[in-house]
């Protein structure tokens, strides 16, 4: 609000200005909040390998190389992540692909699971 109106002319001016700048409709912020952003990626499924006390470290590296066709350096990086941090997210995939990878890893007896992405 602009303040106290001293005379009728000023009042008339302020009323006109107020009328002019008043938004004709309510802001459409609410509509924007309801709209889901377009092009947002499907969170998919994470393929995770968990640490266990039985699989040999070199064997885990070998399996990652075989299943994902990774270079030794990348396979070793993930193997060490499993060993030191208890788990490693190996890849994010669609449900079908994640399931395929978990099958392949478990066929080598690795403790691998698929978890919904966030």
């Amino acid at each position: 609000m602009a303040g106290v109106i001293e005379n009728s002319a000023g009042a008339s001016y302020l009323v006109r200005v107020a009328t002019t700048i008043e938004p004709p409709v309510a802001p459409d912020i609410i509509r924007e909040e309801k709209t889901k952003p377009k092009g947002r990626l499907d969170p998919g499924f994470l393929v995770i390998c968990w640490n266990d006390p039985v699989n040999l470290m070199d064997f885990v590296t070998h399996v990652f190389q075989q299943v994902f066709a990774w270079k030794k350096e990348k396979a070793e990086f993930h193997m060490l992540q499993v060993h030191n941090q208890g788990k490693s997210v190996l890849t994010r995939e669609t449900m079908e692909r994640a399931e395929f990878y978990v099958h392949e890893l478990q066929k080598y007896q690795l403790h691998a699971t698929m978890e919904p992405g966030e």
Binding site: D58, F59, E99, Q106, Q109, A112
Partner: protein
């Protein structure tokens, strides 16, 4: 060990051959997956997928057993020489043998209750299983060392 044109030749002493065949003949040790398909998914929704995993592993186990019987029964698979035996393996056979050995090893570990450490089990009278696991690990390490040079 010698390697030439994708063929690996392992030299085994007589007792090494006996140990290898002993652990291979233990296959299959376990049944079922080493872990569920998912730890946090919708159990009902994933039930069918869990069954699919179990079936895939059972199929593989049957195929491994078929190949293993052929492998152990093949004439000349272990070629005798002056110091023991020569075992010739292709890269694919090495990967397959690694899987079989690991399945014996992990299967025994699961049967033992998935222990964090093996040493207490020796005192608890599980020496045979622990020794078999260590034999598997020994041969796995040799195979991995041989493959290591190729995979650099």
């Amino acid at each position: 060990m010698e390697a030439k044109d994708g063929l690996f030749v392992f030299h085994l002493a007589k007792r090494e051959r006996a140990l290898l065949t002993h652990v291979l003949k233990m296959f299959p040790v376990g049944s079922g997956p080493v872990a569920p398909l998912s730890k946090s998914g919708d159990e009902q929704k994933l039930a069918e997928h869990e069954r699919s995993l179990e079936e895939a592993l059972a199929e593989q186990r049957t195929e491994h057993k078929r190949l293993l019987d052929a492998f152990l029964g093949e004439q000349g698979r272990f070629a005798e020489d002056k110091s023991g035996f020569r075992l010739r393996l292709t890269t694919a056979q090495m990967d397959w043998l690694l899987r079989v050995l690991n399945e014996v090893r992990v299967g025994l570990w699961m049967k033992l209750g998935r222990p964090e450490e093996l040493a207490p089990l020796v005192l608890a009278g599980q020496l045979d299983s622990v020794v078999a696991m260590e034999i598997c690990a020994l041969f796995q390490s040799r195979l991995l060392a041989a493959l290591g040079g190729r995979q650099e």
